[in-house]
Symmetry: C2
Subunit: 401 residues, 2 copies
């Protein structure tokens, strides 16, 4: 794939805007994304049993008919745990956006992120939606990416293009998320656009696979949230032959580009982990199955003890082995090998013979790969996490107030 | 039960000592506990698949014959992930202690805590065991409790007495543990003595039940360790009629006293959680089963987001509800009620109407009870945890070096 500028508006037929409507004091807090043509829509929602109001609305919308033209997103307030009134408010956002854009209400999705348990200031949001409609254009992708941020320190965007049966296809994406990121999609939002022509069912199939290998492979603090969602819109404006089965070569080409985009956005979220100073890849190899590799890698990536040791640049491999020990997988501890970057730290039969200098050199980097070989089979999986710093505590001890 | 002084030497027929043998620079690092008569022995070990050498030895010892006379414990080095040589070293500690005490090697247990992946300095330990034998007496319980500490900021001891069929029975205990504490027994050691006359099988039955409601209900950081163990010795010196079935009233009396002792030690471990400034009880009520209550309470107690909010004295009830949401239990979010101390924070149907003042007043205390009512049934469970502070990061970023 080729990297492009342009984020969510890089693909043909998309407009965006991001404005300040007054949920936050000064920063942008309302984003609007519009497709000029009805777009096949795929949706992936949090596994948390407490579903925020917008997720309940979106699930209903996509189940009724998976063809959308607009998404309205606010930050600063999650509209979660707000009961019947929260649900009314979410539908209100849908209706206002539809009216302002001159489209049907069943063509609009809604999304929220921020504090839980407070009602949305609906008067400001209604006014804000009208402002956002006036601001729509094909170059405001950064405004939109800014408007969905909460504790994010930077806007997260990506865009790529690739040839498919002689046609140039583009995919763009934006995401938010920094704290509360965990496997199974935690307080993170991602909105992906493409001009590919594809059926909703095949698009949903591709999204399911790509989320499993991207957003469900990252963790900041192990908590999962009430509001997470990933949406993909595909409006067909590239003019390719409709992609209607996951068994053709064209599907594989598209799937790989989509996974690439989602992995890029996932890594940006980890890089922006609350208080994170290091990006860490846990590469679990030699597993008996991919599932086993993911299970072991997740335990290591979620361990506060591993994450603080990495923050302290301490080659504490014992904590890595202990985390695999309680991950629930079957394995022989004496067979395990651990590498920091290219430096072997632990060899089979607990052979330890590394220079603290070499280990320290790797741990001093901003990006660290920890590779574990379980010596059980040929499967592997990567998991991405960050270190645990004192700033994490600062940020989260006083988020609400 | 009546509270006593005297820790592990409060029951009749026990001697203890705690000395410096040279694993640590200056602090005490070797403890010895001796029963003057063979004691029925019950053992509970970590669920981590990576078992430290002393645990492998102890499991074998107790399986062969559950009658012990001595336990030797070192701190500063966990003798974990040390392979065949580590196993030899653990057996070496057993043989040296047996020889120095003039008892059989199959009457000695061994335990270690500290850094993973380094070999024990066996010459120092052999000499230290002889010094510890010379120092044995019936009043050195504090020395022993000191000698098993690692990052613990205080020695953890408890002793109680209670009447059983007209006989005065005593139970004493000591524990260590501050970081890496999680359900299923994580880097914590507890040694409990009693002068009760009881069969090993009934003692093991009581220990299993009491651990499930004490050490497996605490969490500091969710990691579980390679070295955790709880041992109970019962030497029969109180002179009661042998307790040989868990169905008699005497068993219930003893079980409740044992659970009381283990819960007291568990709470001390949480109070000493690395960097902890607050002790938090999560009381999950209205659950459909005790198992469900434990599952939901554990998710709340393990949430970094909940723990940092409590550290910041922020009444962020949304994080509590979100944690229950990903705990894996079935429930209706709109039915949940949350109380901080006596202050209702969230009522049914997401009714929120509390004074920030009142909530703050509760959160300012050193000990906080968060009660959740799921409104699903009549079962409940308590779980104990602490807040997550910046000191936790400090302590764990540089533990090994």
């Amino acid at each position: 794939v080729n990297e492009l500028q342009g984020g969510i508006t890089a693909p043909r037929g998309y407009l965006a805007s991001g404005i300040h409507c007054g949920i936050k004091k000064r920063k942008k807090d309302l984003a609007l994304l519009v497709s000029t043509a009805p777009a096949a829509t795929a949706l992936s929602l949090t596994t948390n049993r407490v579903l925020a109001a917008p997720l309940i609305v979106d699930r209903e919308q996509v189940e009724r008919s998976p063809w959308m033209r607009a998404i309205v997103v606010n930050s600063g307030n999650a509209n979660a745990c707000t009961g019947a009134r929260g649900l009314d408010d979410a539908w209100g956002m849908v209706r206002t956006a539809a009216a302002a854009l001159g489209i049907r209400p069943d063509e609009v999705l809604v999304s929220s992120t921020g504090v839980i348990g407070q009602f949305l200031p609906m008067d400001r949001i209604h006014r804000g939606i009208h402002t956002a409609v006036s601001a729509l254009n094909a170059t405001s992708h950064v405004d939109a990416a800014d408007a969905i941020r909460t504790t994010d320190t930077f806007a997260k965007e990506v865009a790529v293009s690739f040839p498919l049966e002689g046609v140039d296809i583009r995919i763009g994406g934006m995401a938010k998320g920094s704290g509360m990121i965990a496997p199974n999609m935690a307080t993170m939002l991602a909105f992906v656009t493409t001009d590919l022509h594809i059926t909703p069912a095949v698009l949903q199939h591709a999204l399911r696979g790509a989320v499993a290998r991207s957003f469900n492979r990252i963790t900041v603090d192990g908590d999962t949230s009430t509001n997470d969602m990933v949406v993909v819109l595909a409006n067909g404006q590239a003019g390719n032959r409709e992609l209607s089965t996951p068994t053709c070569p064209a599907y594989k080409t598209f799937y790989e580009a989509l996974e690439h985009v989602l992995v890029r956005l996932s890594k940006m979220i980890v890089l922006d982990g609350e208080g994170a100073t290091k990006f860490v890849e846990i590469l679990m190899t030699g597993a008996a199955s991919e599932e086993e590799a993911v299970k072991a890698a997740r335990a290591v990536a979620n361990s506060n003890l591993v994450k603080t040791a990495i923050h302290g640049e301490d080659a504490n491999w014992g904590r890595i082995l202990a985390a695999i020990g309680y991950s629930g997988i079957e394995f022989e501890p004496a067979d395990v090998e651990i590498f920091f970057g290219a430096v072997p730290i632990l060899r089979r039969n607990y052979a330890i013979d590394f220079s603290e200098e070499d280990a320290k050199h790797v741990l001093k980097q901003k990006e660290i790969t920890i590779r574990v070989d379980l010596h059980r089979g040929g499967s592997a999986a990567a998991f991405w996490t960050c270190d645990l710093s004192k700033s994490y505590v600062d940020i989260n001890a006083n988020y609400r107030t």
